[in-house]
Amino acid sequence: MIRFDQVNKWFGAYQALVDINETIAEGEVVVVCGPSGSGKSTLIRTINRLEAIQSGTISINGEDIHPKGLDVNAFRSHIGFVFQQFNLFPHLSAIDNCTLAPMALKRLSPAVAREQALALLDRVGLAHKANAYPSELSGGQQQRVAIARALAMQPPIMLFDEPTSALDPEMVGEVLLVIRDLVRDGMTLVVVTHEMGFAREVAHRVLFMDQGRVLERATPDDFFNRPQHPRAQQFLSDIRTPFATA
């Protein structure tokens, strides 16, 4: 469904992605992990063209995503994106955050859009907060609204860029439960996360990145129990024993 072919990306002289070749199947749940600055956020941001690439091709359902004349806005509306910092629109209530894009892009009537948005908010457990503004919601609640907002365009693919990294620890669970719910529905998900327990439970496949390269791709069982690449072994031992120095 999502296919990377020899993808390279530079930020100036710094190469953020190196020869990425990867295929993500429809309905697959892929967790991308790796140390800070390894290129994992950059990788998923290239999928909806938030980041440009300098060489190679990315295709979705067999179609190149960088052809001349592509309607980028229509293209993006088919891919849900959830940010680390939530990025809810602070001047709009939770439900208005969710109805903005469907009303502007699908020309849904306010009544229909509200009804659909309310169903989505209910799905993330926040129907009772529909009229609350982002400033009145906790971080976990904001992130759940952000997920509902991304789902409102009914995208077949959802991308999560460290969805729980900006949350207080007690709010991580509620967001992960919502994402697990999407997994059960069979959506195609790419999740950048440091939540290894979550990866172990829901991922079909784990990609390990370091310095812009995908160094290891494995089932969660293989990755966590029998990591092959030395950097992956190092990374896993680092996150298991956070107080170990050298």
Binding site: S77, N87, L105
Partner: protein, 239 residues
Amino acid sequence: MIELIQTYWVYFLVGQYPKGPLGGLALTVLLAGLALVLALPLGVALGLARVSPYRVIRWPVTALVFVVRGVPLLMVVFWAYFFLPSITGVKTDQFGTMLIALVVFDGAYLAEIVRAGIRGVPKGQFESARSLGLSYAQTMRRVILPQALRHMLPSLVNQFVATIKETSLGYIIGLTEVSFIAAQINTQVFTRGAEVYLLLGLTYFVLCFGLSRFAFWLEQRLAQRKDLQPLPQPLKASA
């Protein structure tokens, strides 16, 4: 001073109206009001052009903004008065001339306020709107500008207060606004300049102070609205 007011208050307020053209304080307020109403949309348009991703739009507007900001308002008034009719072939009256000068001048200043306001909205707002599939224009109109304009309010009011005072330059081209009228009164009662100009100063002060207080009141009200509260800052995690 009482006697001065009693004699000249109508002249001060409306000039020679209704026997002649409208003037005085009424003309000043009309000029300032129109300038504000017209300069704001121009400022927003120019501000949007200043942050445009297209160089063809960005560069000429940037040049215009820097030129206008680099000259005194008096020059702009002279250009509008002497230069504009020579290229358009149409002689504009003093009011029209002054209005054009004020709108262009304030539009350029407002453009910079708008630009700063847009730049002040976090980048994530833009990215999340675009990720949903909203176009650049939809993102600006529905997401960025509503947030930017609210944060710009204090700077906007500053500029509006300046506009009220700038109308006094109409005096130079013979526009019968309130400063011109005051000067007229002064020549008629030429021994009492201090009183005349004290009253004129008080008049401007009341106008500007009133606008400032109104803006303060508006700010207080907006601050109580929950859709304008700053979001609780999420923990900063490394990317």
